[in-house]
């Protein structure tokens, strides 16, 4: 992944708050916090104001992703533990495999 070094000047209070979160273990370092914050801000802005977004593949993807998640939330979510969901997927994998391949000579 190509990267670009950026130098930030931020208010001391914001810096102190960031340090507090890093020390509490929420982020490994300041760069990780900054990356997470920028991603979150971009995502929220474009979700709230689609006209702000250029129609790039990535932004369109994020909107579609959010639309799917919203449908799932409104349907009440998956309502399973991770292990139950994995068990469902194992069963579905076997079903799909049987339908596609098991009957073949």
């Amino acid at each position: 992944m190509a990267s670009q070094k950026v130098t930030l000047t931020i208010p001391q209070s914001l810096h102190q708050e960031a340090k507090r979160l890093i020390e509490a273990g929420y982020y490994a370092n300041f760069a990780e916090l900054a990356r997470a914050g920028i991603r979150k801000e971009i995502k929220e802005l474009y979700m709230a104001n689609p006209s702000l977004a250029l129609e790039t593949d990535g932004l369109l993807y994020l909107r579609r992703l959010e639309e799917i998640r919203q449908i799932i939330r409104e349907a009440g979510g998956i309502n399973k533990t991770e292990e139950e969901a994995l068990e469902d997927l194992r069963r579905i994998r076997e079903e799909v495999w049987r339908e596609r391949y098991a009957a073949r000579p």
Partner: protein, 164 residues
């Protein structure tokens, strides 16, 4: 959907190729697991990365999502087919001998073995899964098996590069 004849090289010479197991899509879309959610979220921001989607995995994830709401099948297909980072590849032509080899490599279920074999067949660098059968049982040197948490760590560290 692309077809794959086994002789094709990587789709992009410098791209890192990931195969995500169906559980990553289901966990990430249903927000069941935070690391899977984040992995789907950050994909647009990772340069040099391609996700190869086995047609079987696409069907598995879509079928699972259909139990939540029928409209999700079309929405999920739109998401995958319309985004340039994803390439859906049919696994119809996967050599049976390679699938059988993966049964010997630690995936006794034929259905699991086909997914393991598929990742080698398309010359993937990583298979990302929360399935412990893959994470703990599979012994292959063709690619690395990691979970979403490990994939995210490597993306953050800029070290999501080829296996080996």
């Amino acid at each position: 959907m692309k077809t794959f004849d086994g002789s094709e090289k990587k789709f992009g010479v410098k791209d890192t190729l990931l195969v995500l197991d169906s559980n990553e899509y289901v966990f990430g879309l249903s927000e069941l697991k935070g690391t899977s959610v984040k992995l789907l979220d950050v994909l647009p921001f990772v340069e040099g990365l391609k996700v190869i989607v086995p047609s079987t995995v696409l069907d598995e994830a879509a079928r699972n999502l259909s139990y939540i709401h029928s409209i999700l099948v079309a929405k999920f297909n739109d998401l995958i087919y319309s985004y340039e980072k994803f390439s859906v590849v049919s696994d119809e032509g996967l050599p049976q001998s390679l699938a059988e080899e993966y049964q010997r490599l630690g995936l006794p279920s034929e259905a699991d073995a086909r997914i393991g074999a598929f990742a080698e067949w398309v010359k993937a660098d990583f298979l990302v899964s929360e399935n412990q059968h893959f994470l703990k049982g599979l012994k292959t040197t063709a690619y690395q098996v990691i979970d979403a948490a490990e994939a995210l760590k490597r993306i953050e560290a800029n070290s999501l590069r080829g296996a080996g």
